[in-house]
Symmetry: C2
Subunit: 328 residues, 2 copies
Amino acid sequence: MASIRDVAKLAGVSPATVSRVMNGTVNVDDDKKEKVLRAIRETGFRPNELARALYKKSSRIIGVIVPNIENPFFNELARAVEEEAYRNRYKILLCNSNDNTEKEFMNIQMLAQMKADGIIIVTNSDNTGQVIADCQLPVVVVDRRLTNSGQTAYVESDHYKGGQMAVSHLIECGCRNIVFLRGPLWLSSGLWRYRGYQEICSKYGMQERWIDCQYDYEDGLRAARELITQYPDTDGIIASNDMVAIATYKILSGQGYRVPEDVQIIGFDNIRFSWLFTPELTTVIQPIMDMGALAVQIIMKHRQGLPFQKENILDVSLVERQTTKRKG
Amino acid sequence: MASIRDVAKLAGVSPATVSRVMNGTVNVDDDKKEKVLRAIRETGFRPNELARALYKKSSRIIGVIVPNIENPFFNELARAVEEEAYRNRYKILLCNSNDNTEKEFMNIQMLAQMKADGIIIVTNSDNTGQVIADCQLPVVVVDRRLTNSGQTAYVESDHYKGGQMAVSHLIECGCRNIVFLRGPLWLSSGLWRYRGYQEICSKYGMQERWIDCQYDYEDGLRAARELITQYPDTDGIIASNDMVAIATYKILSGQGYRVPEDVQIIGFDNIRFSWLFTPELTTVIQPIMDMGALAVQIIMKHRQGLPFQKENILDVSLVERQTTKRKG
DNA sequence: CCGTCCTCTGAAACGCGTTTCAGAACTGAA
DNA sequence: TTCAGTTCTGAAACGCGTTTCAGAGGACGG
């Protein structure tokens, strides 16, 4: 593999001049520029990005740490980040944390050693907040708001409004006995959706009914089973997210309930599967693409020393599909 | 950020000695070793991976290029690769090619410049085969077999057997009018599944019935609609993959067909959604985890100069779930 | 024609961990 | 006691693109 010195020799100039031609940083005499370009073409020279990054102390790598790439939500997020990154000539180093604080820590460490330009992370652990603060890198927390990391930027969607919209919609659809499959309260998404739900309940004088439920399919199955025995007269369910909505549907339909005739279901996230599923899920849309793009932009601004918003709460909306139905 | 020279100064030794202590490459006097370790602890020194990689000409990065991370199959594959890579202290640089040869090319180029240790790629283009051959990096093609790249290693599953199993199973389940949603013949998966299908058809003297269908959901919808009008008496469908099976189910159930009572469906891949879906999909299992792990292992062996198998065809199996049903 | 200023260019230093090479210090055999 | 053989260590070179700095050459006002 040709190096810049090989090219320089061939073109009869110094390595510095080759570098200047490649980067267009300084004017170079047309004649020499021509020679350099020809030499580059002849040797097929491609600069070694490691050498460049070593000097510049920046590798144009953005680290993405998610609990699990297989989870559709995270994986759509990763996709969004990748797209925006590629557009800006950044690369994505993808890390799975498995919700393991230890592995998260290792990954952050590794990214720092790789001189990553920033980290986009979905973490549950407030401890990680500390590590983040220490690692000297621009970090954006996505879909979470850490309690003890005043400095760290975050991007999430308006869960409070989302919670409100979900209940309101079920009420509009004629549901009277609504159960809220409540996501984890130690996550801002779980907490604020719940608060939104409470707000509407009290506004309508409706009694709260909820079952705690993690964000994964398996726990969705469990919660749905529990729901059927505990609240057999339920006619509306707010699932903690789309995966749980899908699990709930499976249990319900297995028990002979018809959706939406007997029970209506609404999810959160609007993952791709929410509309590939049969029936298509009514859900609260999180702007995943926007969240990913914004996270990348924040890191870039951070790098360039430009000002940026630390707290980013993106708007949500609701899409009515086949698991809910307005009367009349 | 402390450098190795800072540590050396603090410990009163040379940088070389610090390096030796860190890597354990050469014996170092216990006394000095102790001093070095203490200095490392005090400074919080972490070696700059870029500098290390620059010298070693290897960054312990494995590039993964897939057409689309959002596709469940690729994303489970990426997950598998990440896991095996992490176990071996490799990192994953994830690239989306969008089935765009140009972008694929750019990504390969970039990975070469980053001194990646290898590339794991899912590509459709035989042109890319040429680029791969030129890029000087260990490359493993997954889920594909390129026609013109005799040198490149590949890992795929036994599509031929898979095709046979799928038809055989439907026949065992009593289907008489089976339609094969045939994947693209320019991909080995499409071609060999089809050949397996043909083999069994001719064995049973059954007439071939197929409709061409890409591997994505949208084309699955289209093909399923076509299927209903073209072959209204169909009682068994082999979908080109699980996504298409899911699309097919949607169209069928929308038309009032019951699955599996009226029509049975079998998919390929066994993506996670195949069993989260309602009804759970009968499908031919591709060992995605194994494929990912094997691909990583091949790259490692390649790097270490160890011998490895160029052609890897992994066994498939069939899982019976709710979209097919044996009679009696 | 002279001094000043600007433009272009190359040598050398830089970033930083690793490895080579030669010398120092010590062990052990003769 | 001496020579050979080990073991440990540091200086310097390496990998390679970028940047700094100073010098060379030319332009231009006076």
